[in-house]
Symmetry: C2
Subunit: 402 residues, 2 copies
């Protein structure tokens, strides 16, 4: 292994990651658990919504022509000929000239009527209703199929469902919905210095922070993380755990080994069992990243520092996951903010700078990237594309939130 690896651009690395992404697999799930999942097929309405002309107010169904010119001082006098019951259509209830019927919000507009008047603009005297406001044709009515038409495409494949979408799916008659299967992502921690959270670190040891961070992030992104513990640098044991992960997962992430020796072993094992496609990306932090395949399974070697691993996760691994999820738009939480000072950057590499955000102002955070506390004390990242020499104070930036 050379000690200076050759780096490629972020764009090329992403293209490589997308190219090796296993195809999206569909599965049917109940809509109750569908929020956050990505649709694998278009969804059409199985019915007109609503299925009838519907009042949006409590009041009276009227013929609008009968209310022309009506006002506080000259009310229209209409005869109340009935009452619309919720959830029922009454074909015998017909509104003729100078007639009306009580209608609740959501009630079926009776035949003959073409508008509804809010109860607040009416008064009753026996069977007579005084209407004190003119209604225009169609006023306070939702027309049959105005919301969605029978057969209309309501959502397209690739859309990530929100909680509100679940309500719309329900209205369209969906009980189950076809979504992309959750990619199973294996996580193997590497590094002789690592111990798990429940062990008190001895001299020279640190607890593994990356694996739990990656697992939690993947879970939130709609994947199924599967952890394989910490592999030490005995090559045979390392090869065995990689082989197991490759057999059981759709993607494998190797994480945590921060030293050159670890990275070299990772690259060498991938090369011996499969192919190393990328070793080094023009990305800061995140340069010492490995992308390869073993069989048809993508295998990533992530940098050891947690802040660096996170950048590679969102900049390089995420596009592969989006491809596997069939997702049309990446799920990234950003806020727009104004930069508080100049940030210099090296042209030719994409750079991610940590920032704090308060009241719409993004302030660069100058902690060492090897520290965990930067994940806690900063709020997110600003991306500086490779073609830029920096960002100027006062410019508007999109902060990718942790």
């Amino acid at each position: 292994m050379s000690r200076f690896f050759s780096v490629i651009s972020v764009e090329d690395a992403v293209r490589t990651a997308e190219r090796i992404a296993p195809p999206s697999q569909p599965e049917k799930i109940p809509i109750d658990t569908s929020a956050g999942r990505v649709l694998a097929a278009d969804v059409h309405s199985d019915t007109d919504i609503p299925g009838f002309d519907r009042s949006v107010v409590d009041g009276y169904a009227v013929r609008s022509a009968d209310t022309t010119g009506a006002g506080d001082s000259i009310p229209a006098l209409l005869r109340c000929v009935g009452r619309v019951a919720m959830g029922k259509s009454d074909p015998l209830l017909v509104i003729g000239n100078a007639e009306c019927a009580y209608i609740p919000t959501g009630g079926v507009l009776p035949q003959g009527a073409d508008a509804a008047v809010m109860v607040e603009y009416t008064e009753t005297a026996g069977d007579t209703v005084l209407v004190k406001k003119a209604a225009s044709h169609g006023e306070n009515i939702i027309r049959k199929d105005e919301d969605f038409r029978y057969g209309e495409t309501v959502f397209t494949a690739g859309h990530r469902l929100t909680p509100q979408d679940t309500g719309v799916l329900s209205a369209c008659g969906c009980v189950d919905v076809t979504v992309a299967k959750k990619p199973v992502v294996g996580i193997i921690s590497t590094g002789n210095e690592l111990v798990p959270a429940d062990v008190v670190p001895g001299p020279g040891q640190v607890r593994d922070a990356n694996a739990p961070m990656l697992a939690a992030w993947l879970l939130e992104y709609g994947c199924l993380p599967r952890r394989y513990g910490i592999a030490k640098d005995e090559r045979e044991a390392f090869e065995a755990v990689i082989a197991r992960a490759v057999a059981e997962c759709d993607v494998v992430l190797l994480s945590g080994g921060s030293s050159k020796d670890d990275r070299d072993m990772t690259a060498s094992v991938i090369a011996s069992k499969g192919e190393v496609l990328v070793h080094g990306i023009a990305l800061a932090p995140g340069k010492p990243t490995i992308i390869g395949t073993i069989g048809s399974t993508p295998v990533f070697g992530l940098p050891g520092h947690p802040a660096s691993a996170f950048v590679v996760l969102i900049a390089i691994v995420r596009p592969l996951l989006d491809r596997m999820l069939g997702q049309s738009e990446p799920l990234i939480r950003t806020v727009r903010a104004t930069l508080s000072e100049n940030i210099p950057s090296q042209r030719g590499r994409e750079e991610y700078v940590r920032v704090k955000v308060r009241d719409g102002i993004a302030t660069p955070f100058f902690g060492k990237s090897g520290l965990l506390n930067t994940l806690v004390r900063s709020h997110g990242l600003i991306r500086i594309p490779a073609g830029f020499e920096g960002l100027e104070k006062g410019s508007t930036v999109d902060v990718i939130l942790w």
Copy 2:
């Protein structure tokens, strides 16, 4: 029941909701499933992080004084006296004058050394290492306890954990973490016009969209939704299902009945079994909202239109949930945008206006609020406080995303 109910301000409604919120209950859970949960106790580090002075580069551990003035043309010549192994501390490895040792990223800085030099700035000739760059005291080193000190407060109670936080918790020795129990929220749909998603609506019927929407939103917000189906307007059956929900849940939401008769029955049942505290809020949409208690259980009557129910959910119910979760900051996804045109508003009531957002521009969406498709075709809401007569074109607004 009066037909014109007396409305109170959003502020007073929120204060009422917060006052009746049941107290937060703590529980211990494994950190693997803790992302998105709210801490019920402060978290302290059980160790110094790191527990030793640590190199952040692959290179050589040196005494910085030995490299003063070193450069490409006048390298410092140091004798390599050893190699730091990952995950181990070697008390016998001591760096004396004009000496150095190979150190991997993450390795323990040997005694005597006070800096590390990147391998890229060195050359070797037998046991001699040529250092071509001066190192300052502490350069490329993370000091013992620089990240977190033993006993330091890393997170405070009320913080909602992110995926990255899981990594930090792990480093602090947390295997389990104390969080607020998920509030159990019952959902009862009311309205004779409603049928569930798997039934084709007959004349005058519509499918229940609110209950699945509310359930999905609550799930995402960190609650346990429990659905009680659709209650028709037979009073006894309605009372029975409310009694069951009140006994089994921390909070009960009554949803879906859009007509005045439904709202009146809801208020009357709450009043007969407990107390109606609020009936009508100066909020648009969302005016016909009911807040009450049965025993010590908060019971909300939400408006029937899905877009209105959603506004009440985030404006009125959410503060109660935040209180129950002990959450210090609300979890709301907003984007900042510039308003494309004037929006008039009625002073004296808080108003939520649906908007589309593209390229940082928020454009008001003028669909009828009774339509489901507004949930799909708009991106979120702008809040106009009660004291405003509207918002001006060009002003900066925070859009609450659906």
